[in-house]
């Protein structure tokens, strides 16, 4: 209450795939503007659109639906959570027993649609203090796997569709994600990535996961000083070979059916 910034209008981004639902939130935000001044920074129909908007808009608060095409609200919150001074996130949901239970457990703020003015005002009052929930919590309640990886580049979020990543390689503090065109640094652990995408990526080495559909073939190769030969995976579209560790070979052989 002492801080004057508390009274500056809050820049709100509304994310919902249904036009009337966005309209409704806009109406109710207008209704509570006397006590909780806000300004609509933008509206988006899904997570990807919302992240694109965030690139050139300053947003204090995101009100997002959960179930949306292309990218759902939970995944949006995960990407937003990577931003250093990113906006607060409040979920809106019509009815989703599973998500609501997860919210209660994690003390995540959410609004039930249709949203009531009084409840919205309450949420706005504490909005500046709401950070997106910890990634760990969001990961557990995600209705689906992420559709994109995100890279925080100089304060903006760069999205890479998961389907475009050929392999993931651990390097010291980071994981390098390789697509056809370039490499990205992900601030995540290989173990977590392996757990999140078991159908998509296959572990071939202590430090490497390969996308199953990026495997062109396997071959014997001799590398290093010892002159010992071992198996390598030939990556589709890249003139690159990734070593398979002796320990992983039986599992890789079985998974790839070679």
């Amino acid at each position: 209450m002492s801080d004057t910034a508390d009274f500056a209008p809050l820049a709100v981004l509304i994310v919902d795939d249904e036009a009337p639902a966005r309209e409704r939130l806009r109406d109710v935000l207008g209704d509570v503007a006397d006590t909780q001044p806000t300004r609509i920074a933008g509206t988006a129909a899904n997570g990807v659109e919302a992240l694109a908007l965030l690139e050139h808009e300053t947003v204090d608060l995101i009100l997002t639906d959960i179930r949306m095409p292309v990218m759902d609200g939970v995944e949006l919150a995960r990407h937003v959570g990577r931003l250093e001074r990113g906006p607060a996130v409040i979920f809106t949901t019509a009815y989703d027993e599973y998500a609501v239970r997860a919210f209660e457990l994690a003390a995540v703020d959410y609004l039930l649609k249709p949203v009531r003015a009084a409840r919205l005002a309450e949420a706005l009052a504490k909005a500046r203090r709401i950070r997106p929930p910890a990634d760990e919590i969001l990961r557990q309640m995600a209705p689906t796997r992420r559709s994109h990886f995100s890279i925080n580049e100089r304060g903006r979020i760069l999205l890479v569709p998961v389907g475009e990543v050929l392999y993931l390689k651990a390097e010291q503090k980071y994981v390098v994600a390789r697509s056809r065109e370039r490499e990205f640094l992900l601030d995540e652990s290989l173990v977590q990535l392996e757990e999140e995408f078991p159908e998509r990526f296959l572990r071939i080495h202590r430090n490497c996961l390969i996308a199953r559909n990026a495997v062109k073939g396997v071959a014997r190769a001799t590398t290093g000083m010892d002159g010992e030969s071992h198996w390598v995976i030939i990556v589709d579209d890249l003139a690159e070979q990734l070593p398979v560790s002796r320990r992983q070979w039986p599992a890789v052989k079985e998974a790839l059916g070679v």
């Binding site: 249904e18 036009a19 009337p20 639902a21 109406d27 095409p69 019509a94 009815y95 649609k113 689906t144």
Partner: protein
């Protein structure tokens, strides 16, 4: 919202007794099986010499199958008349038919042998009585199951996701387009009226189609251009009687799984056609996420399958299939109309 069902459910046991539907394949098959079982049992009881058994069975078959098939055929033809009679009169009519056929076929088949008409007459009447008793028992045993099915129909139908999203949609257009909001509330009211009415009688397919159109119009409020619908209707099929709320839940599933998860427009296609004695209904939606297999989907399908079974026994089927880009539900049921 609260839906109190139990007080009305209590009245379910008092459903008036009914004759079986003699045009139902299940009823016909059960009748044939039961009568033959009786006849074979009778041969075994009478038989004294095992070497004569085959001959006796054949003789029985000649004496029994002909009147049996005549009976089944006559009752099939008389079904419309029988359905209009009260239970007692219906039973009397059936027994009279059975007796007449027993006498006529006896005199046609073995005019010389004068073993008397009394024995075949008594045998026919006793067997018919047993078969009718069996169907009556079966019917009353199924009454609670029917009540339960109706309750299932109701609980499965109120998908909270749909109710709250629709209300939110109506609120969303309330200020900008009050006319559309009114329409939305009217559609919602119609849908809930249909959900809450007594759903144990078959309803004309036209009514179901009208209900689905209201439902789709309500969904269009939220989904806008994303929801495209391709109807292919057949006026010849629309007089058919179908279980209430058979079509709408399937279309709701198609919208939930085939349209809502997609960013762009998608088409739900609904094809209704009459093929001879049957009505074929097919609903298809785009296959968007092969991963998500919502338990709600199977619940709705099981529920409808169970109700088809209760209403039509073996004569109706419900199949699903998925190919590369579409998910299809296909229902096949016998064409029945009010007249």
């Amino acid at each position: 919202m609260s839906i109190k069902q139990n007080p009305r459910l209590a009245g379910w046991g008092q459903r008036p007794a009914q004759l079986p539907d003699f045009r139902n394949l299940g009823v016909v098959l059960r009748t044939l099986l039961l009568v033959n079982a009786f006849a074979i049992a009778a041969v075994f009881v009478r038989n004294t010499d095992l070497s004569l058994l085959v001959g006796e069975v054949l003789e029985m078959a000649v004496n029994v199958e002909f009147p049996l098939i005549l009976n089944v055929a006559s009752l099939f033809l008389m079904q419309t008349l029988l359905r209009r009679l009260p239970f007692g009169a219906g039973v009397a009519t059936v027994l009279a038919v059975v007796a007449t056929i027993a006498l006529v076929s006896r005199s046609l088949l073995s005019p010389i042998e004068t073993g008397g008409l009394l024995r075949p007459l008594l045998w026919s009447l006793t067997t018919a009585g047993c078969v009718l008793t069996y169907f009556h028992q079966r019917d009353s045993a199924r009454a609670p199951a029917l009540a339960e099915a109706r309750l299932l129909a109701l609980t499965a139908r109120i998908r909270p996701h749909f109710l709250f999203n629709s209300l939110n949609g109506v609120l969303g257009v309330l200020r900008s387009n009050p006319r559309r909001a009114e329409e939305g509330l009217e559609e919602l009211a119609d849908l809930f009226r249909a959900l809450m009415q007594d759903n144990r009688e078959l309803v004309p397919l036209t009514d179901e189609i009208a209900l689905c159109e209201r439902y789709l119009n309500l969904e269009r409020l939220r989904l806008g251009e994303r929801l495209q619908v391709a109807w292919q209707r057949d006026p010849q099929a629309e007089a058919a009687l179908v279980p209430p709320l058979m079509l709408q839940p399937l279309i709701e599933n198609a919208v939930y799984h085939g349209i809502e998860p997609g960013a762009g427009p998608g088409t739900v296609s609904i094809t209704i056609e009459r093929r001879g004695p049957e009505v074929i209904i097919a609903i298809a939606n785009p296959l968007l996420d092969a991963v998500s297999h919502h338990p709600g989907n199977r619940m709705a399908l099981d529920n409808i399958r169970e109700r088809l079974m209760l209403f039509y026994d073996l004569e109706a089927t419900l199949d699903t299939e998925r190919d590369a880009d579409a998910y299809r539900v296909r229902i096949r049921l016998p064409f029945r109309s009010e007249r």
